[in-house]
Amino acid sequence: MEVKQISVFLENKPGMLTEFAKILQKNDISMKALCLAETPEYGVLRIIVDDNYKIATVLKDEGYVYRVTPVLAAVIPDKPGSLVKILDVLAANDINLEYTYAFITREKDEAYIIIRVQDTEKANKVFREAGIKLLSQDEIDKM
């Protein structure tokens, strides 16, 4: 059970993120989670949105360089120590974490961890065996 992350190339200069956010606004695309990794010259914006088909079309039209990446969205209780359990499972199964970021919603007492690993399938399996709940794309879209 994986979800799609949209990774976008942005130059590291004033106004680039604004420009991008305005395009989402104009097209009524809602962002669920956002993470920006940057170098002095450029950044990689990673986002989870509610409509992957629409954003892919829009980004293509607007001429952005982007990539759709499979990631896992783990559900954890919003309290201290929850993350440790997830990381332990990955470490115990020798899975290297490429990057991770988190988000919460207002409705539930849950937090969501976006996890990027090389072998998504394997991580999926070990999480299931450890009883860790993963969100589906459908669930994300409805949030």
């Binding site: 992350q5 990774s7 190339f9 130059e11 990794a37 010259e41 990689v44 990057y99």
Partner: protein
């Protein structure tokens, strides 16, 4: 003051210089016609025979040579002597990555060394001096030329080569170097470092000869003040021999062309017609004493002014101005020849789009070259390490093609301006 390495030649009457040039030109034309098919074909194509060239007045009849000819004839096509008589090659980068290779017999090396010795003596060097050569050694002509010139003169020669500034300064202070030879930007960097470390008192330099790249009068004064020396310019190119094709005297007012070995002309780059002395034109050289690799009417693409006025130093050799620009798109960055077409080749080989922008700047007297490239979906990854790995691969490919570090900057697609006609590929912000 009239310090010449070979006063009989360097201050010879103009008539004598003309007589040498007439005789040597005729001999060289016959030599290449007899031994180089490429020249023979070029001359035959326009119905020219060696007998038609009787003096320098006939020079204009000869066809031009350019870097394209060198590329076409690469590597051995212009060699005018049997390989057994050749003792050395030197090389420089060419327009599309193919290098220019020049051959030397021992006589050619001796002539080149002599030219460099003249430059050293004009800068005040004597056999008592310690000549510190910080030009690169190897295929580049800078190190080899000054090394040979200094040997010829009998000075103690320090074959430092470029880089390793700490070691440069240590040798300079410990061995009391008196003449520094390097690129002007490296001289400026050394001067700055020496001042920063407060070592001015321990430096015994009296003069420097700085060439292989463009530099301004401000830069000259800056280096002279910081190091307490006289700074001299020098000009040369591998195709013709290397540094020492022309050199500055104590008047520091133009570079004397070694006219016993090279005939200089200036032409209109568009029409190829001669331009009178005193006016801007593309510099064209004919080497008239070289054996292995003589070049006839070689278009340097450097825009210069020739000056035939007598010089206060007593030398009678014609002078040339610093190159004022180029008639092609070649850039000289850190003393290295860079053609945009070379960068284009690397981009294509590495799978990048051919839309790019080169920006050259000079910070703290050192050249910097930045290359903006548009990123594509294929090159992009959600992981920074992947993107920077690809970027690094491109940097390495550029370095191996050009020999210098290029600061690559990935930009978003369609951000580099496209123009209808010839795209603007180069922005040179250096004020020189």
């Amino acid at each position: 003051m009239n310090n010449c390495y070979q006063p009989d030649i360097e201050t010879a009457p103009r008539e004598q210089i003309k007589a040498w040039q007439d005789e040597r030109l005729v001999r060289t034309v016959k030599h290449v016609y007899d031994h180089v098919e490429y020249y023979r074909n070029k001359m035959k194509a326009i119905g020219l025979e060696p007998g038609d060239i009787k003096s320098t007045e006939d020079l204009y009849k000869l066809p031009f040579m350019s870097k394209d000819d060198l590329r076409e004839a690469y590597p051995y096509g212009l060699l005018a002597m049997p390989l057994k008589d050749c003792v050395r090659i030197q090389s420089t980068s060419g327009t599309t990555g193919k290098r220019v290779v020049a051959f030397y017999t021992q006589n050619d090396i001796d002539m080149w060394d002599e030219c460099c010795a003249r430059a050293l003596v004009a800068a005040g060097a004597t056999p008592e001096d310690v000549v510190h050569v910080s030009y690169g050694y190897g295929l580049f002509t800078g190190g080899a030329g000054f090394n040979g010139g200094s040997h010829k003169l009998g000075s103690l020669t320090l074959p430092m080569s470029s880089g390793n500034t700490d070691r440069q300064i240590q040798f300079m202070t410990d061995l009391h170097s008196t003449i520094l030879c390097c690129t002007p930007s490296y001289a400026a960097y050394l001067a700055e470092t020496i001042c920063e470390r407060g070592l001015q008192d321990q430096i015994d330099l009296k003069a420097g000869i700085f060439g292989a790249e463009a530099w301004s009068e401000e830069m000259r004064h800056d280096i002279e003040d910081k190091l307490g020396i006289k700074a001299y310019d020098i000009y040369g190119l591998t195709e013709i021999s290397g540094p020492g094709v022309s050199y500055e005297c104590q008047e520091q007012d133009g570079m004397h062309i070694n006219e016993d070995n090279f005939i200089a002309e200036t032409i209109d780059p568009k029409t190829g017609k001669p331009v009178p002395d005193g006016e801007k034109g593309e510099l064209v050289f004919t080497s008239i004493t070289k054996e292995a690799f003589p070049l006839i009417r070689y278009r340097t693409k450097d825009i210069c002014i020739l000056n035939n006025e007598p010089c206060a130093c007593g030398r009678t050799f014609k002078r040339m101005s610093k190159p004022l620009g180029r008639s092609d798109d070649m850039l000289i960055v850190k003393g290295v020849n860079v053609f945009p077409s070379q960068i284009e080749t690397v981009l294509m080989n590495e799978g990048y789009p051919a839309n790019y922008l080169i920006t050259v700047t000079r910070e703290n007297n050192s050249d910097k070259i930045e290359l903006q490239v548009e990123i594509t979906n294929e090159m992009f990854s959600d992981e920074l390490s992947e993107v920077s790995k690809r970027e690094k691969k491109l940097v390495n490919a550029l370095k191996s093609m050009l020999g210098i570090y290029v600061d690559v900057r990935l930009v978003a697609p369609k951000t580099i301006e496209r123009s209808e006609g010839k795209a603007k590929r180069v922005i040179d912000k250096r004020n020189i």
